[in-house]
């Protein structure tokens, strides 16, 4: 299993599931994203372990952007996703149906091209997709 980055895993085939890389504190149980160097509750060294998180969550809030930086489609949706494991994660929302995006909507992780760079290369990152939607 190859780790594609420090923050997420992108599977090479459809049999494996993508995930975000978080950290879990073995002392207090807190889970963090992005993964931390130490737990803010316990403030001790070496209490953290890497964990796979982020498959599912719900939309804590969102905005439809009608003005976007270069490389992003207009309009597109940005959201804060409350992961089932606890962390609140910023994400682009991958949806064809912008008008039906709603607070508390259930979403699922997907990894793919987030935007194009100045040279036209695809930049890969995490996105969330409404459950059952497209």
């Amino acid at each position: 299993m190859e780790i594609h980055g420090r923050l997420f895993y992108k599977p090479d085939d459809s049999k494996q599931k993508p995930y975000l890389i978080g950290s879990a504190c073995q002392q207090c149980g807190d889970i963090h994203f992005p993964p931390k160097g130490a737990c803010p509750n316990c403030l001790k060294p070496n209490t953290l372990q890497e964990v796979k998180i982020g498959e599912k969550g719900k939309i804590s809030s969102f905005s439809i952007l009608h003005v976007a930086p270069p490389g992003f489609p207009v309009p597109h949706v940005q959201a804060m996703v409350k992961l089932d494991e606890g962390p609140l994660v910023f994400s682009i929302l991958k949806t064809e149906d912008i008008d039906s995006v709603a607070l508390n909507q259930l979403v699922r992780l997907t990894i793919g091209p987030v935007r194009r760079s100045e040279n036209g290369e695809e930049i890969v990152g995490w996105m969330y997709q409404p459950e059952g939607g497209r």
Partner: protein
Amino acid sequence: MVNDVAVLGIGMHPFGKFENKHLKDLANTAIWNAIEDAGIHASKIQAAYVGNCLGGLLVGQESVRGQVILRHAGFKGIPIVNVENACATASTAFRMAWLSVKSGLHDVVLAVGVEKMFVGNTAKSIEALSTATDIEVCGNMGLQFTSIYAMNIRKKMDRYGWTKEDLGLVAEKNSYNGSLNPYAQFKKPLSKEEVLASKMIADPITLFMASPMGDGAAAAIVCNEKIARQLKKGNPIIRVAASELSSGHASMLESTPKESTTYTTALKAYEQAGVGPEDIDLAEVHDAMSPAELKIYEELGLCNEGDAIKLIREGRTKISGDIPVNPSGGLASRGHPVGATGLAQIAEVVWQLRGEAGKRQVRSGDGKLPRFGLTQNDGGYVEGDQAASCIHILSRV
């Protein structure tokens, strides 16, 4: 023993678009206006804290911005510290100046905040702004501060019943205030209908609710209060009653007002000043998108949770109201050259406390000048919360 600290002088360069002006020019105007206002010889200044946020990315000046700016302004030899703390840069520079007088190390210190955002490349400026986050996490994702604010405001609309009209009302109030401010970037009063009809940029934020890019500078001279008393010869002086700085510890989106970083920082400031929110006569707050002001009313304790819309609907935060907020026009109207904003807020409160705010002068029902003014300046975005929260309380004594 610690010294009481007074604001002896303040100065600004107007906020706006000044294509032919360099960082050095903008800062020079603010610095010399502050020195003139202080009524001291510049040789009395013993140290300087120079705030700037984006000069590295936008004009390529790194490492020694403060020294370059102050050499241009005629200074040499004094200790100069470069200060960078996202949109809270200038208030942080002010706090460092306060600290160096408070501690007894210096008697007279200069704080400057300056920013040059119009560099002929809007995309570059917008990208520079978005680096005030953890760029490993958000850098490739197109996170915009418009979007951060929009998501917070949408959540509050859902939770507390804020309407689009309420959002428009804040911008209406602040654009009117800005129209009275000679230093403001925008001087056109807008109706809430015009605000709501302007281009949607990040739903529910429209263009006229958003702070613009800008060039500008602001400066303050702080001193040991004993020196201010000698110079002012019995006239009122402006004391720094509280200075507080925190980094984020809460969730901008999900915390209740009393769990917020702004609230916990404000609470410490109230304690330091020996006052409560009910004693504050006016506030300059960080409304990078004007409707954010509503959230800040509650987080500063100016009203209870859920009551912010009453304050705006009843006109209580207008200049003529009982708790005026952003009489300068706030970030969206006065402008938001990021590394200068915090000191512009402080300048406004000083003018207001002295009774020098002209057409936008705040007075109580019986005509008295305000006594306590608060500034709240936020910076950056890390792990779902503001990266920096800087709050000052100034009082006329």
